[in-house]
């Protein structure tokens, strides 16, 4: 009997493992029910009367607007620079983000939807930061929604609401409308940055943006 004991143990473990895996698989498949309808909260309405995402006081002396695409590497760089500038300038700078997903980027619209969905729960900027931070990761996969859901979980969002909103045609239309409005302002690529309505051309590094902001602040002081 002892001769066969090791093989009996191995077979027993194999059977238990296979059984446990099957049970777990079945249980998980049962759990995957269609998400319930989630109520969407109010969208971020700015004083300008346009649904948008803004940081900084509405009466800040300088307003920086960025038309961004979450899958655009240059946008990620510009976003990092802007974050640093926000710390430097504090309440003197108001930053507004406009969605401008480019057709050339396969997951840009999905990412924008994720950000907007998070925005419906009051966490647009947190999702914005995560999307740019991990851009090099999710942009390479064929189905990035798993990542977006994981980010939503990290932010403590209501996942059912998030998933529901991520598929919302209404939200998609809002993103498209924002992009169209950008085209109307002459935006053709990303990032496109306006400081006090004037397009910033050239580099989008911190030094270049700082210079443009300082110039805008100087102008304000003169007036």
């Amino acid at each position: 009997m002892k001769r066969y004991l090791p093989f009996l143990i191995i077979i027993a473990v194999a059977l238990v493992a296979a059984g446990a895996a099957t049970l777990l698989y079945r249980a998980k498949m049962k759990e995957q029910v269609a998400p319930a309808n989630a109520a969407a909260d109010v969208s971020a309405e700015d004083q300008e009367g346009v649904s948008l995402h803004a940081q900084g006081p509405a009466n800040a002396p300088v307003k920086l607007e960025i038309y961004g695409d979450f899958q655009c590497p240059a946008c990620a760089t510009a976003s990092a620079s802007i974050s640093e500038l926000q710390k430097d300038y504090g309440p003197r700078l108001r930053v507004i983000f406009h969605e401008f997903p480019l057709a050339m980027h396969a997951h840009a619209v999905e990412a924008a939807m994720a950000a907007e969905s998070a925005g419906l729960q009051g966490h647009f900027w947190e999702m914005h930061d995560l999307l740019y931070k991990y851009q090099s990761v999710w942009s390479k996969v064929s189905q990035p929604q798993r990542f977006f859901t994981a980010y939503a979980r990290t932010l403590g969002l209501d996942l059912e609401g998030f998933d529901e909103a991520s598929k919302s045609l209404e939200l998609k239309a809002k993103i498209k409308a924002e992009g169209d409005a950008g085209v109307g302002r002459g935006v053709r690529n990303t990032p496109t940055i306006f400081i006090d309505g004037k397009e910033v051309r050239g580099a989008f590094d911190k030094a270049a943006l700082k210079s443009a902001i300082d110039e805008a602040l100087t102008k304000k002081k003169k007036h």
Binding site: P6, I10, V13, A21, Y25, V141, F147, T149, A150, R153
Partner: protein, 150 residues
């Protein structure tokens, strides 16, 4: 294992080695459970496994999480099962089982190093389940090295 020849009854001095083999089998069981869980989660598309860890989702949702349609974790299931089986056979005195175990653990050790490098330098994120598996593999390798000359 069918061709392995059973050795003579282990002497008292070899008791430590038997204990080591049982320890290896228990560690392999833990690894088997970890890898099996990850495999099932991957197959069901459930990323709740990651809880609130974004890094975990990044790793488990990356292109490296599967080789074609096969979840990477399933290779771990196979490897841990081989180690478990070899360790059990070795504990019962099957000498060739020890050679299989050493080869399997050496292979797992190298693959684990590669996977850790991927997480650190390519994905810039770590998955706790993968790190747990890596720790188990290192533990297996450590025990094998410690028992090796005996």
């Amino acid at each position: 294992m069918a061709v392995a020849r059973k050795s003579a009854k282990p002497p008292q001095a070899a008791r430590g080695r038997v204990i080591a083999n049982i320890l290896l089998a228990l560690i392999a069981l833990c690894g088997l459970a970890d890898a099996l869980y990850l495999t099932v989660m991957h197959l069901t598309g459930d990323d709740a496994v990651c809880g609130s860890s974004a890094g975990c989702s990044i790793v488990l949702g990356s292109v490296y999480a599967s080789v074609g349609p096969i979840p990477t974790a399933s290779f771990g299931v196979l490897a841990y099962f081989v180690v478990f089986s070899a360790a059990i056979c070795a504990a019962f005195g099957y000498r060739r089982a020890w050679s299989v175990l050493v080869v399997a653990v050496a292979g797992m050790f190298l693959v684990t190093l590669g996977l850790i490098a991927l997480q650190a330098f390519v994905l810039h994120a770590f998955c706790p389940f993968c790190l747990f598996s890596a720790a188990l593999t290192f533990l297996l390798a450590g025990i094998v090295v410690a028992v090796w000359p005996a």
